[in-house]
């Protein structure tokens, strides 16, 4: 992360630069489609996944047909409807868990970076230790020992995913702290709380936003993995859980590809949306040179849009 990060000054200026990033736009579009699907699930889904149905042997892993566009699963339920409703859990876990992570990460990062000294030492040592302990096995252990409810999963993913953000936010805080306006604010009598609130935080915020998008994608991946390992809330249908059911209940031997492909594509779609959006935002907030001395037909030029923000 370079120290020259400059936040876009206004919302419209931000949008003007963001519009130039093809990846960012595609990511935003993809994310909006999943959110719309989750919000309007009851209106889009052909069947209600919670409805009681009568099942005959022919309904189990039935291939795609006019009645079931994506076939049925091991319980004779409509895969497409499950898929549409499944987006809700993935997004809920993704958003809530990453808010927890980002909150802890930002507080730790800003406090460590701003106050320095012993507080920084203790906090960053703790962060380093947490960073080394592998997340997924620890999450598996905690969820396996507690009740695998939706909130437990959100809390565990959130509480384990903050280390990267803490380090990023700290280094950015350190850079901002050196700027002249902080010294000026202090010289006219501003206190620590005021400086953090009005000078440090707004300058760190853009970085936090980019990071949030990436943390959401990680949280969605983690949720799907825990669910796939059978550690999900049995009442909350998610894409990972659909894959767990299909994989452990004979979809492989029934060659029922329709029960395996869609939920996975859903996860890829949501995660890729956040990744692309994150890349787009980063190009706006932290423009880098994208060419070099050995490039084909090289001429050192800054990315368009860079000069507009300085």
């Amino acid at each position: 992360m370079s120290e020259t990060t400059v936040g876009a000054t206004s919302l419209s200026g931000f949008w003007r630069s963001f519009r130039r990033s093809r990846m960012g736009l595609v990511g935003l579009f993809m994310l909006v489609t999943v959110i719309l699907m989750a919000v309007f699930a009851p209106y889009i889904a052909p069947y209600d996944p919670k409805e009681v149905i009568r099942v005959t042997i022919d309904d189990i892993y039935a291939p795609p047909s006019a009645a079931h566009w994506l076939g049925t699963d091991d319980a004779g339920r409509d895969v497409l409807s499950n898929f549409i409703y499944g987006s809700r859990v993935s997004l809920i876990v993704g958003f809530f868990a990453s808010f927890i992570s980002i909150f802890i990460g930002s507080v730790v990062g800003i406090v460590a970076g701003f106050y320095g000294g012993r507080a920084e030492n203790v906090l960053m040592r703790f962060t380093d230790i947490m960073l080394v302990i592998p997340d997924l096995p620890l999450a598996v252990v905690i969820v396996a020992l507690t009740k695998p409810s939706l909130w437990n999963i959100i809390f565990v993913i959130g509480a384990l995913g903050w280390t990267g953000s803490a380090r990023l936010v700290r280094s950015q805080t350190l850079a901002v702290k050196q700027r002249k306006f902080v010294l000026r604010a202090r010289s006219i009598g501003a206190g620590n709380a005021h400086i953090i609130r009005y000078h440090i935080f707004p300058m760190v915020l853009p970085l936090i936003v980019v990071n949030t998008v990436l943390v959401i994608s990680l949280a969605i991946l983690n949720e799907s993995t825990l669910s796939f390992l059978g550690l999900s809330d049995p009442t909350a249908l998610s894409w990972g859980q659909m894959l767990n059911f299909a994989f452990t209940r004979g979809a492989m031997s029934a060659r029922a590809w329709w029960a395996l492909v869609m939920p996975g594509l859903g996860i890829v779609w949501a995660v890729l949306a956040c990744t692309l959006l994150g890349q787009g935002l980063e190009q706006v907030l932290n423009p880098r040179l994208e060419t070099h001395y050995l490039a084909v037909g090289a001429q050192m030029v800054a990315r368009p849009g860079m000069e507009a923000q300085v």
Partner: protein
């Protein structure tokens, strides 16, 4: 002098982290509902004798630690207890002598099972990691060199997509495709009841089983290595000494090899180390999908069977391995770039 102090400091932190993992492992399993030792006593699969043996081994009649014997605040204040006579001390003592308990499922010592599984996991991770690093770096160099061309853009998009793939799902899809199209094995390490004329045939069979898991692993990790290599190399290639080298009339290949790559390698070491946690996460998923008899698959099975001693042991071994691998990476980095010792 400074070097040995740096070394000691790094080793000290690694040991402290291991200690924290041990404490975490102890308290998580004692405090959360699924206490292995106590749940074990209630487990109907065990005989009376086995229950007595477990009680004895873990010192279950003794206080958990020195100053509280249970989480009940009324019973606080047993500080008069000899610290050597607590469950925590017995647990740490057992660990030091390699005693990790008995698996509920197989009734074998956990440590013996973990030893077999560790090497299977190392084999899988090793093969996948080497392929992913080499291919990722190669693609990264290509993308950076051809920056802002179609090659660069496609490589970038492919990497982001690979990064977004859930490992277990990619495994499922490859397994589905590979087993039906090419008759590749659907799981395990060896053909069941296979008869092998010699060790080479046996290894060939292992390799055959390793093909799809390794492919899954490589695809998932390729993306990140490529992205890092690309962005580091872009930075390095924008340095003025590259222009100097070009002005001297050196060929592009030579500048890339002798001037740029050497400096771009350093961040790769850090990323590979930082990735170790994800590496383990990937192994858990891949081993589960392909029934590969490694540590990760063991975790999944232990969760399914509520085999808590196995879960506890596998978590400890995984965490400690990652901590030590990180330490090695740290020391390697300081050897490659002596400047870090100053900071």
């Amino acid at each position: 002098m400074r070097q040995s102090r740096y070394l000691l400091k790094k080793i000290g932190w690694a040991l402290l982290t291991v200690l924290i993992v041990i404490l975490l492992n102890f308290f998580l399993f004692r405090i959360l509902p699924g206490d292995p030792a106590r749940a074990g006593i209630r487990d109907p699969r065990l005989t009376q004798d086995a229950v007595a043996a477990i009680r004895e081994r873990f010192g279950l009649d003794k206080p958990v630690i020195n100053c509280f014997e249970s989480l009940n605040p009324v019973e606080f204040g047993s500080c008069g207890v000899n610290p050597l006579d607590t469950q925590l001390f017995i647990y740490v003592g057992n660990l030091l002598s390699g005693e990790l308990g008995i698996s509920y499922h197989t009734n074998r010592p956990v440590i013996d099972m973990l030893k077999e599984q560790l090497w299977n996991t190392v084999l899988l991770i090793g093969a996948g990691q080497i392929l992913a690093i080499f291919l990722g770096m190669g693609l990264g160099v290509l993308a950076a060199w051809r920056a802002r061309t179609t090659i660069d853009f496609s490589a970038l998009l492919a990497s982001l997509t690979f990064w977004s793939l859930p490992t277990f799902w990619l495994g499922i899809i490859l397994l589905f495709w590979g087993s039906s199209q090419f008759g590749l094995p659907t799981g395990g390490k060896l053909t069941p009841a296979g008869n092998f004329a010699n060790i080479w045939e046996e290894w060939a069979d292992v390799g055959w089983h390793l093909l799809l898991p390794t492919l899954t692993y490589t695809i998932v990790f390729l993306g990140e290595y490529m992205l890092i290599m690309r962005s580091t190399l872009l930075d390095v290639l924008s340095e003025d000494y590259i222009l100097t080298a070009k002005a001297k009339g050196l060929r592009t290949a030579q500048i890339l090899k002798d001037h740029a790559l050497q400096n771009a390698m350093l961040p790769m070491v850090t990323i590979i180390a930082l990735n170790l946690g994800f590496t383990v996460a990937g192994a858990i998923q891949i081993e589960t999908v392909f029934s590969w008899p490694g540590l990760g698959g063991a975790i999944f099975e232990a969760v399914e069977r509520k085999d808590y001693p196995m879960l506890q042991g596998a978590f400890l071994l995984i965490a400690v391995s990652v901590i030590f691998a990180n330490l090695v990476a740290d020391l390697l980095y300081s050897y490659l770039d002596p400047r870090v010792q100053a900071g």
